[in-house]
Amino acid sequence: MPVNSTHYLFLSLLLFSIGIMGALMRRNAIIIFMCIELMLNAVNLLLVAFSKIYGDADAQLFVFFIMVVAAVEVAVGLAIIVMMYRKVHSVDINILNRLKH
């Protein structure tokens, strides 16, 4: 069976689900962050696949903007994680439950 759009939908859905599972399973803030990057990349892959199928460059530009947003998010997010590590000496998200009390 030749590769068609369903294969790419399936692959990208699989990567996205793995990202969701990782974000729910792990307690390390950095790993959760990496899982979010994985989900963004799954979406990028699908956008490029449909750009190829419909012969339209717009989707590739959207991938470009998603990469911009991901880079911004990583810069600010890692700054926050480093700051949190300096305060509580851990990257465990279960420590950050002070709003609960």
Binding site: F10, L13, L15, L38, V48, Q60, V69, V82
Partner: protein
């Protein structure tokens, strides 16, 4: 099976296997390295689909810059498998079930879609000339806004990372 199909399946296997490695490995450094491999596999998919510019940008920006930043932070904090916090078995199982249910629901939705054939002839929509033309005509406003976003992120990262007292160990971009 043609060469496109073989490359598709090989790259997909690498991508999914390494993505599982990211969430299953105990050592955060291994997770980062697995994620870099995943990004390389996804870049291979871009090349397969004639998105040459995105292939290069993905390798330079994601694998080269973002993941190195992650690696620096992991090594700066001296994280390893011994200090890695673990969730309880029940919570992990709940996470897998929640992700699996999402997977099944969307899978049921995409199962009924009409498969679109992929045209394997070479096109030049992924080349930088064409993308640049579209970017600076149709998407010029989002482009400018993203530059403002970058500026605010740079300032934000410096402000957040600045130490209030004594020695200033700055965490910028």
């Amino acid at each position: 099976m043609d060469i496109y199909g073989i490359l598709f399946w090989v790259l997909s296997a690498i991508a999914v296997g390494c993505a599982l490695g990211v969430i299953l490995s105990r050592n955060p450094v291994n997770s980062v390295l697995f994620l870099i491999l995943t990004f390389f596999a996804i870049s291979g998919h871009y090349l397969l689909m004639n998105a040459q510019f995105l292939f290069i940008v993905n390798i330079i920006v994601y694998a080269g810059a973002i993941m190195v930043l992650f690696l620096f932070v992991v090594m700066l904090m001296n994280l390893n498998a011994d200090v890695e916090p673990q969730k309880g078995q029940l919570v992990q199982l709940a996470g897998v079930i929640a992700g699996g249910i999402l997977f099944l629901v969307v899978l049921a939705a995409i199962k009924t879609t009409q498969p679109q054939a992929i045209d394997k002839t070479t096109t030049d929509i992924g080349l930088i000339t064409n993308l640049g033309k579209v970017l600076f005509t149709k998407f010029v406003l989002p482009f400018e806004i993203s530059s403002v976003l970058f500026l605010s992120a740079m300032i934000g990262a410096v402000v957040i990372g600045k130490k209030e007292d004594t020695h200033n160990l700055q965490k910028g971009e």
